[in-house]
Amino acid sequence: MSPRGRLIVFLLGGAGFAVLFVLGTVHLPDFGGTWHPYGERTVSNAVARHTPNVISSINFDQRAFDTLGEELILMASALAAVVVLRGVRAEQEETAGAHEYGPAEVFDALRITGYLLLPITLVAGVYIVAHGSLSPGGGFQGGIVLGSAIHLVYLAGDYPALARIRPIPVFESGEAVAAGAFVLLALAAAGQVTAMNAAVGAEVGCAVVLVLAKFFEQALLVRTSS
């Protein structure tokens, strides 16, 4: 289909969507109103079960079974990304440091900032995971912070060091163990908000590290053998 034809189809579909969407919103309750029957019930339940962060209470206590599905979607996607990015025939992988690449030439200020931020970011990530039931945060958010934190080493210009501090097999097992622990918790002990936050944090962190590791391999190490 020509770009012009595609645009016409989009305009027709978009106009239809716009009409239906506007009609659909006309009878919604007023924006910013006070009528939130489900919200009020979850709030009173969360307070009764001593989880001040109502979002965490919903995700890991009142709707823990749904979060199990979300968690498995995350794992399946991460797994699929890793499988899609695996090396194939006619490609060979160079080991990091085979060329004796040292740390890249970066400004000292950047390098020092990276190394200084690394422990701070790791502590912040652990704090966000551990305090997920009390203050804004939780396993998903903290896991992302933890997974991203160790890539500060890469931003500081040292890929070989990054490859050393994140041994892939360890993170693969960590991902599997954390996912298994979360399934067990969700089925047997839903409501243990802190424990579930920890399991989710570990799994998300491992997933981020694994997926990013595969992207790094594609960008830096995989070469088509000629």
Partner: protein
């Protein structure tokens, strides 16, 4: 006028889909899909909004205070997580497409085989 806020997510969705339709680059298309998906975040938060209310976290406020609807916020969290993983998967596919076919222009990827 009070319903105007509900129209914002529809507009964001249309902008995102327009980007996908006119895209000449798969990475650009993946980003446009993220934009289209962010419409659902806005829709959920607009539905849960409550005037003069604060975040549903009771660490430092009395449990009787007005808070915005926490259910849609939890759904938004789920939404963001799923959106991020889907983006990662699509970018992985884009990497493979670029390697196998030497192009990321959707118009030059008509047939399944090169």
């Amino acid at each position: 006028m009070s319903h105007l806020a509900y129209l914002i997510p529809g507009w964001i969705l249309l902008v995102g889909v327009y980007g996908i339709v006119t895209s000449r680059n798969l990475v650009h298309a993946v980003v446009c899909l993220s934009v289209a998906q962010s419409a659902t975040y806005v829709l959920l938060l607009v539905i849960g909004y409550r005037r003069h209310a604060t975040a549903p976290v009771f660490s430092d406020i009395k449990p009787t205070g007005d808070v915005v609807d926490p259910i849609v916020q939890a759904l938004t969290l789920t939404d963001i997580v799923v959106g991020a993983t889907v983006t990662a998967l699509l970018l992985a596919l884009t990497v493979q497409v670029a390697k196998r076919r030497g192009t990321v222009d959707p118009d030059r990827l008509r047939s399944l085989e090169p």
